[in-house]
Symmetry: C2
Subunit: 408 residues, 2 copies
């Protein structure tokens, strides 16, 4: 298992060959930090996973083009305005951000991954951003604290920065992975949701990197397995840069070293994903729904998603109420064929429904399990070997307040 | 167009040959009415549409069997307990309700449609119900007021009874349709959602009846086109009984008379559906989302459903905020292929997004449109002739309060 490292230490600059910085360039009326730069000493192999929303931000379109080459030297990210639904002017602004960063770092514009998160439909204040990029590049050498500055500069409605790192031994040498992320919740008026930027000093072949990232993003309780409010943002991006500056041997095939790297990456992603969901808008509890014995993994996942997205399950969890009937209802409406008389539902370790009928469970005991920070729901279908797990969150008055009281 | 009739008049007994009654038999701790009987003078042709949830209530299973014969003389319905997840004992209880009603009315048990709505996982107090059925059968002749008693006796978390009727001219004679319904919201702990019982004195062939009902349920803004909280109950039922006691000529083919009847039925269903959605849990505004120019009707409907179920759109509507960015986000994540630069979004008559970019609309004017009882959102995709319309509702703190503060 990879070793978790205390989060107070640095994250994205923990792997050798990376620097980071963040500052306020003046996009947010609050004057909070809104511009981050993560730069490698030289062009890195890069892989990324983007939003599946068909209304995509301009930086996602430009970023996808730049990723085709497979080499990226830096990520430049602003928060406050998402540069979505901005037409050709938006594309031009995303390209200008890349040119400004390239000029400050001495690379080419297509080696920059641009990213923006925040309000939809507004234009970027591009002069503020390009002059900010010069300043933030000057700060790159500021040391470990700059990781936290970068993590803070990509925040929108997050209440705290999110960071993690992992170390793993590859051929007797340490390889390090570091990541920062922002969440989860689309607030005033339309904040783009999820960004995660991951760096590593591993030397890993591009196809393997792409595979490892895709698997890590789709692992149990990772980025593609969480749903705070079922709304997919227009800007979601998870990017991985691998600089190869560690002393460890290169990873060129899917052997033990690949497996170790991939496990550490998955572990890092699920750590960041958990930080995102537990800091979701108005979230007071995390829901972890595991579906077992389904006919396929896809069927299991479909049911787990329906359970964690059900408003009635979410409100029951918010109220700390062991309302298994709502869970059964959500399982039944997921659009997956099942035999109700084989159905088993557990809350924590306690079966509340078995063979389709309620058990005589201890209500007070299950009530206590529903009042923890994380509520575990397990559903068994008795049909096959398919399994899946999703993370979700409760639905609170606070969520409604945050999202209803804003005015455009 | 069929003529609407004031709702203060009777509904399900308006067609010739039907009687109805409701009373308190003692299922609900509140002592509110909880048992309804709708009876025809003789066995009727009958068609019904049931929930698609795979965890179905025992009465739905028994009702589906009884419907196979195509002849029903009465509907017996209790509220308070849904008789869901109750195993073989639940099936036996649903059958006992049928036998009790059949014995009181002098028909066979398979000519009774049983229905139950309320808490999941509890057993019916069957002795109270069977003795209640005798009493409610005695009251059948009580006159017009009994319609309202029946409409009230099927309520769970509804704040008001729902009823409507329509009259339509078939071959120079009037045919009448009447309906009652209950909504929408699954509260303490798991109320089954939607029931609608419709009667008519038309003489219409069974296959035509089934077609007309299916079309009416799937029409724009009808029962299958509304989503209050995206949770499908385990007991949803829409049943239509046709006694043929009007003087109008029989409807045996899909000509003008069928068309008139079907239109009146659709009109009645959309009236009841609107009553349900506007009385949903914590609902303060109705959302009507129309999607036009999609590649197919299914694609249009998928987008309309995603918009009205989006928590971010629902909270924006609750706050009366013209937040078109959230609507665009929901359109983009609906899983339907589209070209963002063809997208148009209107709030009421005002275009807020055209060719994928925001217009310079009058914010105050659109804000006023967002603060009405019904908010109309129109999405144009510019891809084809597909269209669809869904009704939804806003998401309020009151919804969370109702559904989180209950304790099992």
């Amino acid at each position: 298992m990879p070793t978790p490292i205390p989060k107070t230490l640095h994250s994205i600059t923990a792997p050798r060959g990376f620097r980071a910085a963040g500052l306020t360039c003046g996009i947010k009326p609050s004057r909070r930090p809104d511009l981050a730069l993560i730069a490698a000493d030289k062009p890195c192999r890069a892989a990324a996973v983007f939003t599946t929303n068909q209304i995509t931000g301009a930086p996602v379109i430009v970023g996808q083009q730049h990723l085709r080459g497979g080499r990226i030297q830096a990520i430049v990210c602003n928060s406050g305005i998402a540069n979505v639904a901005t037409g050709d002017a938006g594309l031009a602004n995303a390209q200008r951000m890349c040119r400004a960063a390239a000029s400050a770092l001495g690379c080419t514009a297509d080696q920059i991954l641009p990213s923006s998160t925040g309000v939809i439909g507004q234009k970027l204040p591009i002069e503020k951003i390009t002059s900010g990029i010069k300043k933030v590049a000057d700060r790159l050498a500021a040391g470990p604290k700059a990781d936290a500055d970068a993590a803070r500069a990509i925040m929108t409605t997050d209440t705290r920065p999110k960071a993690a790192r992992r170390r793993v031994c590859i051929g007797k040498h340490d390889v390090t992975l570091g990541g920062i992320a922002k969440g989860a919740g689309m607030i005033a008026p339309n904040m783009a949701t999820m960004l995660a930027f991951i760096t590593t000093d591993a030397d890993i072949a591009l196809p393997l990197m792409r595979r490892a990232l895709r698997d890590a993003v789709n692992a149990d309780a990772s980025f593609n397995r969480l749903s705070i409010d079922s709304d997919t943002s227009t800007s979601d991006t998870v990017a991985l840069l691998a600089g190869g500056m560690a002393d460890a041997p290169p990873i060129r095939s899917r052997g033990t070293n690949y497996r170790r790297f991939a496990d550490a990456l998955t572990d890092l992603c699920t750590d960041l994903a958990y930080q995102i969901v537990s800091d979701g808008e108005g979230v007071t509890r995390v829901i972890r729904c595991t579906v077992l014995d389904a006919s396929t993994d896809a069927a299991a996942l479909q049911i787990a998603r329906t359970v964690v997205e059900s408003p009635l399950v979410k409100t029951a969890v918010h109220g700390g109420d062991p309302n298994w009937g709502r869970i059964a209802m959500a399982v039944g409406r997921a659009g997956v064929k099942l035999n109700p008389s084989d159905l088993e539902i557990r809350i924590g370790p306690i079966a509340v429904l078995r063979r389709g009928c309620p058990t005589s469970f201890d209500l007070a005991k299950v009530g206590r399990l529903m009042n923890k920070d994380e509520v575990a729901i397990t559903v068994r279908l008795g049909r096959g070997l398919g399994r899946g797990q999703m993370l979700g969150a409760d639905l609170s008055r606070q969520y409604v307040t945050i999202n209803a009281d804003y005015h455009t």
